[in-house]
């Protein structure tokens, strides 16, 4: 009986090994990668370029959903009915959404997705990728460097959208010796009251990548709050810095995010499982500093920050 068991185990191991070997491209054989783009935008093209630059052994076929989720689903249905690719690259949140719904048995790497964990459930084990989120550590560090007075950082958020982010941020803030003062809102109209409730309680304000918070009236009120209370505001983009935020910090390059995704794809095509590879945040960042705002806030932006700024608004 133990001999039989041993043989069965050996047989199963051999079958598994053969299956595993068969499922990955052999050395010298080009892997077949399908790149699904959510829409035709420049940064997605840049990401695809970056991906191809490191994943140069693969044969990459491209498909553009043209912003239409149904079109993406129909494409994936056709894809499933034919020979399966070795890997799917989902560029953008729309592409990731349809891939999450339709694909279970093909490794997926995403790129250029903001807050990917809001789309990917815990049960999805075939998906990893390069998000366009800015590392929280760097955002908090930037606000701390802006002024030694910054001890409490305020943030308004919708728990259904960025609750996970706030939890991470609370821990990271603690590690960096500051406190995150967060106020939950359910709709954009709640943001005014939430901000008013933070008056005198915070030394800096942080705009989260949260669609509820990003309603124009909410952003306008945050800018107003920053000026009235003479506290720095960290925005999500150069555009928000131009609107009056002291800083705008965003991902620096679509191409670099594509390169990150390509590096992950290489690992997967070499035999590593997607679930073993954690999502990444943007490596290269773009910092915009608005010195006009600094003047109005009475802040002297440290040289260290100005030296690393990509754009300085004077």
């Amino acid at each position: 009986m133990p001999i039989l068991t041993t043989r069965i185990v050996r047989l199963l191991s051999t079958v598994w090994l053969l299956g595993a070997v068969a499922s990955f491209p052999l050395p010298g054989e080009a892997a077949n990668v399908v790149a699904l783009k959510g829409a035709d935008v420049d940064v997605y093209e840049e990401a695809l370029d970056g991906f191809k630059s490191v994943e140069n052994r693969a044969q990459v076929s491209e498909y553009d959903m043209e912003g239409d989720l149904q079109r993406g689903k129909r494409f994936l249905a056709r894809l499933k009915s034919g020979p399966k690719p070795d890997l799917i690259l989902a560029i953008g949140i729309w592409a990731l959404q349809v891939v999450v719904e339709e694909i279970r048995d093909i490794p997926v790497v995403f790129a250029m997705v903001l807050n990917p964990s809001t789309v990917i459930g815990h049960e999805a084990r075939n998906i990893t990728g390069a998000s366009m989120n800015v590392p929280i550590e760097q955002q908090i560090a930037l606000l701390k460097k802006a002024s030694p007075q910054v001890r409490r950082i305020g943030a308004v958020y919708d728990p259904s959208k960025t609750g996970f982010l706030v939890k991470q941020a609370e821990r990271i803030a603690r590690d960096q010796g500051v406190r995150l003062v967060s106020k939950a809102i359910a709709s954009p109209k709640d943001s005014v009251a939430a901000l008013d409730a933070m008056q005198g309680e915070i030394d800096a304000l942080w705009i989260l990548p949260d669609v509820t918070v990003l309603a124009p009236e909410s952003v306008q009120y945050m800018l107003l709050f920053s000026f009235r209370n003479r506290i720095p505001l960290l925005g999500l983009s150069e555009n928000q810095a131009r609107m009056g935020a002291l800083f705008g910090l965003s991902f620096g390059s679509g191409r670099d995010i594509g390169i990150q995704a390509g590096e992950m794809a290489n690992e997967i095509l070499s035999g590593r499982r997607a679930e073993e590879i954690p999502f990444t945040t943007a490596r290269r960042l773009k910092l915009t500093v608005n010195l006009r705002t600094a003047g109005k806030l009475g802040l002297q932006v440290p040289k260290e920050i100005l030296d690393r700024a990509d754009v300085v608004i004077r």
């Binding site: 035709d40 935008v41 997605y44 239409d68 903001l114 807050n115 990548p209």
Partner: protein, 415 residues
């Protein structure tokens, strides 16, 4: 994509082959009016002896008059402006999602600073009908040329009395000119980068120029027949002279002047006040046959500075200012300008309006400064398909060769 591109890029060739039809009697269409009376001007019937011959007395002035009209008409025929749309998606960095560009579909005949976008390919077919009706304010169906005769007695003037008063006889030629242009244009634009577009315009033109003339002789007082010796008119048409009624011209169809163009958007979203800016360079090549009136016969280079700015995500005023150099005839060098706006009335509907002007600082006097009003709409019924229609209305019909209005329709697809 490659197959689609190959297919669309082969279309100009198909159009060219299909369009290179040459109709009979259209040779040297450019000189159709000059050659109305046989290319040597009006020759009259020789007088019987002993009278001195008068047959070539109107030859020089008729040649000069016809030649001048010919030049005025043919030098003013041209190819209208073309551009491509602005549509598709932009990227919202803050929300991390693409956003369909709904601010506007762009202008029709003038330019905005915005470019097409990296690796986007815009293919447009347009049809433009130009039915010329006026030359320097005069009705093309009712033109009149007056030819004076040469000095007979050598005193340096045309006598109005005495035995040489016949020197003041004139020939009045009534002309009716039918001049139309149908322009089918293939316009392709490709975004090399998000700020840099390159493209070309391949026009296939059908031109029709039919001129009819009736010449009659008058004396200085306007009496038909001119001055007579007794019963014998000194100047007359006859079996051995040019005929008073003449006609000429025809149709031509073929490739027009190909335009190569590139636009670089060097300033974008700089700050709240400074508009987006771009520089556009156009090179018009002499690919259209000048003799067949399909092209101008010269190479033109244009540099155009473009400024535009979108307000409230729906209203985009723009200004274009540039200079066009005609390498064949620098008197045709032109200052080009445009001022206008495009406005998104609905997400899928854009209205565009503007003034388009061309001024020739060293022009010949015909059409040296023309200004047109351009009105049009673009409709985006489905994703990347845009239907466009436009009408160009001359604001000053007393300058140059003008149509009452110039309609253009087109279909555009962005790959």
């Amino acid at each position: 994509m490659k197959v689609r591109l190959r297919a669309v890029l082969s279309l100009p060739l198909i159009l060219l082959l299909a369009g290179s039809v040459r109709l009979a009697d259209a040779a040297d269409l450019k000189n159709a009016i000059r050659n109305l009376y046989g290319g040597q001007g009006i020759l009259l019937e020789p007088l019987p002896l002993p009278f001195p011959s008068q047959e070539s007395r109107f030859q020089a002035s008729s040649l000069q008059g016809l030649d001048q009209l010919n030049s005025q008409l043919t030098s003013a025929i041209g190819v209208p402006s073309f551009n491509s749309s602005v549509t598709g998606f932009t990227f919202d960095i803050e929300r991390g999602v693409p956003v369909r560009t709904t601010e506007s579909l762009g202008t029709l005949l003038t330019e905005r600073a915005t470019t097409l976008g990296a690796r986007k390919f815009d293919l447009t077919f347009t049809y433009t009908r130009v039915n010329f009706t006026k030359l320097q304010g005069k009705d093309l169906k009712d033109l009149e040329l007056i030819f004076l005769r040469g000095d007979a007695n050598g005193n340096g003037i045309l006598d109005t009395s005495g035995p040489f008063s016949f020197e003041s006889d004139v020939i009045r030629a009534k002309l009716s000119v039918d001049l139309t242009e149908d322009i089918f244009a293939l316009i392709a634009t490709y975004g090399l980068t998000s700020e840099w577009d390159v493209g070309f315009v391949v026009p296939v033109t059908h031109i029709r120029l039919i001129a009819k003339a009736h010449a009659a002789i008058f004396d200085q007082f306007g009496n038909p027949g001119g001055t007579k010796f007794g019963d014998i008119p000194i100047h007359r048409f006859g079996p051995n002279s040019s005929q008073p009624d003449a006609s000429g011209g025809g149709d031509e169809t073929g490739l027009g002047d190909i335009i190569l163009r590139t636009k670089y958007n060097f300033l974008r979203h700089y700050d709240d006040l400074i508009p987006d800016m771009a520089f556009l360079v156009e090179l018009k090549l002499p690919t259209g046959n000048e003799e067949r009136l399909l092209g101008t016969g010269g190479t033109n280079v244009t540099g155009l500075l473009v400024a535009s700015r979108t307000y409230a995500q729906w209203f985009t005023p723009h200004v274009n200012l540039g200079y066009e150099i005609d390498t064949k005839d620098t008197r045709q060098n032109t200052v080009r300008y445009a001022l206008g706006f495009d406005a998104r009335l609905l997400p899928e509907l854009t209205l565009a309006a503007g003034l388009i002007g061309r001024a020739k600082p060293d022009g010949s006097g015909t059409g040296d400064h023309i200004v047109d009003l351009s009105l049009g709409v673009k409709w985006n019924p489905v994703k990347s398909l845009i239907l466009r229609t436009n009408v160009q209305i001359p604001l000053d019909k007393n300058s140059g060769l003008r149509a009452d209005f110039i309609p253009t329709v087109g279909i555009e697809y962005i790959f």
